[in-house]
């Protein structure tokens, strides 16, 4: 029998208690146990960035963290992003700029971009690209994603 542990964590503002196999990745727990399928599973080794989410205020690869390690943590996935404020503005800017086509990378891209904007990042295209370098997008060529981030930083986007 696989070893299990009881964990309690906060996901998108709600307290969650669950019994999880210790080998279960955080992103698989969120998707398969909680039904929060916004965080995507791509490469499962930390390269593609599709599973990037917020753990205790810092972006984290959901495939490189075990659910059992998240015991006591506060997690925000794309489903938990508020419709207002910076997150709302960023989503509006992504729509306005066509910063997604298939959308597979978008939840991770939003998490990484929000961390950059929230830390006071400048509307510097090179710096934005460096910060988003851990998130693959195979549709847009990144240009429109950087446009959207700049729109939020420079106050052109509204929720």
């Amino acid at each position: 029998m696989p070893e299990t542990r009881d964990i309690t964590l906060t996901v998108n503002g709600e307290t969650v208690t669950a019994t999880v196999p210790v080998r279960l990745n955080l992103v698989d727990f969120l998707r398969n146990s909680l039904g929060l399928t916004g965080s995507h599973v791509g490469c499962e080794h930390g390269v593609c960035g599709a599973c990037t989410l917020d753990v205790d205020g810092a972006t984290t690869r959901g495939c490189l963290m075990l659910a059992v390690q998240a015991d006591g943590c506060t997690i925000t996935t794309v489903e938990g992003l508020p419709a207002h404020g910076m997150a709302g503005a960023l989503r509006a800017a992504f729509t306005e700029r066509n910063a997604l086509q298939c959308g597979f990378c978008t939840p991770g891209m939003l998490a990484s971009a929000l961390e950059y904007i929230g830390a006071g990042g400048a509307a510097d295209r090179t710096a934005i690209r460096e910060h988003l370098s851990g998130n693959y997008c195979r549709c847009t060529g990144y240009q429109s994603i950087v446009d959207a981030v700049c729109d939020v930083i420079e106050g052109r986007a509204r929720a």
Binding site: E3, V22, R23, N25, G46, M65, A111, E115, S133
Partner: protein
């Protein structure tokens, strides 16, 4: 893929962690940030029988500065290194290299001790420690010992750490704050593992000859390697002209392995490129 099954322990303190390491049978993998170990487990390159999660071991965290230099706790995360003036001033080479170490989300969890203990041949941190003449503090139930970086990295994912030991801290010598530093790496995408990279330190003022240079490459061999030939060629010299040419030529003596990105002859060429570029910034 997903990791193979394992047992999981999360001790509350260092004594508890060392007791488990000492008493339990099997292949126990200490879990620090997990940003290199977890991919290896997901690929099943690593299949430890037990993960020893060090998240609650407070004794492994924190940075202190003393007359002998810095002591950086093994569980200090990259993001904390970047934000700590003790580190960026006491070990400017680390500050210079940090933006190139993986991506932001990885730096949020990856730790200095984890990188050192895993000894990935393409990781930056082992080369940084070699270039700074850093030392690695190991702890077990039998006590503590300190190993020079030169004697610590033994081969592919192989170090001087015994199975019952943990990497407790990294010691950076006091002169690391005063030495000139250089760093350069070539990667296909910013933040990815480098195809070739170099870290170096040297005494003397900017523009003056390089006093006692220490040069370490990563991404070339089965481990981070000192380039002693290049160090000899550049010692007390200006890194230019024939001297620089001789230093680059000496790199052919390094043990270079090809990988998915480049065969050995390309890696040798890139090693010369990164050395020239790193020196140009000093």
């Amino acid at each position: 893929m997903k990791a193979a099954d394992f047992a999981y322990r999360r001790p509350a303190d260092l004594a508890g962690a060392l007791a488990i390491l000492s008493a339990e049978e099997g292949d126990i993998a200490p879990l620090a940030g997990g940003q290199s170990l977890m991919p290896m487990m997901n690929f099943r390159i690593a299949q430890p029988t037990m993960l020893l999660d060090l998240a609650d071991v407070a004794e492994l965290r924190g940075v202190t500065a003393g007359p002998d230099g810095l002591r950086i706790g093994a569980m200090t995360r990259y993001v904390q290194l970047a934000a700590d003036p003790l580190v960026t001033q006491g070990a400017p080479l680390i500050g210079l290299a940090l933006p190139h170490i993986a991506h932001a989300a990885i730096r949020n969890r990856g730790t200095i001790g984890g990188s050192v203990a895993l000894a990935d041949p393409a990781a930056e941190m082992p080369a940084l420690l070699l270039a700074m003449a850093a030392r690695i503090e190991l702890v077990s139930l039998s006590g503590r010992r300190v190993v020079a970086a030169d004697d610590f990295f033994l081969g592919l994912y192989e170090t001087a750490r015994a199975p019952d030991e943990l990497v407790a801290a990294i010691h950076i010598p006091a002169d690391a704050s005063r030495r000139r530093v250089g760093f350069y790496e070539l990667a296909r995408r910013h933040g990815d593992y480098a195809m070739a990279g170099v870290a170096l330190t040297a005494g003397g003022a900017t523009g003056q000859p390089l006093a006692s240079p220490r040069i370490a490459f990563f991404g070339l061999s089965d481990r981070a390697v000192r380039a002693t030939g290049a160090e000899a060629a550049l010692k007390d010299a200006q890194p230019a002209g024939d001297t620089l040419g001789a230093a680059v030529d000496s790199l052919s003596a390094l043990p270079i392995n090809g990988d998915l990105h480049a065969p050995p002859d390309v890696k040798l060429k890139l090693a010369g490129v990164v050395l020239r570029r790193a020196l140009a910034g000093m």
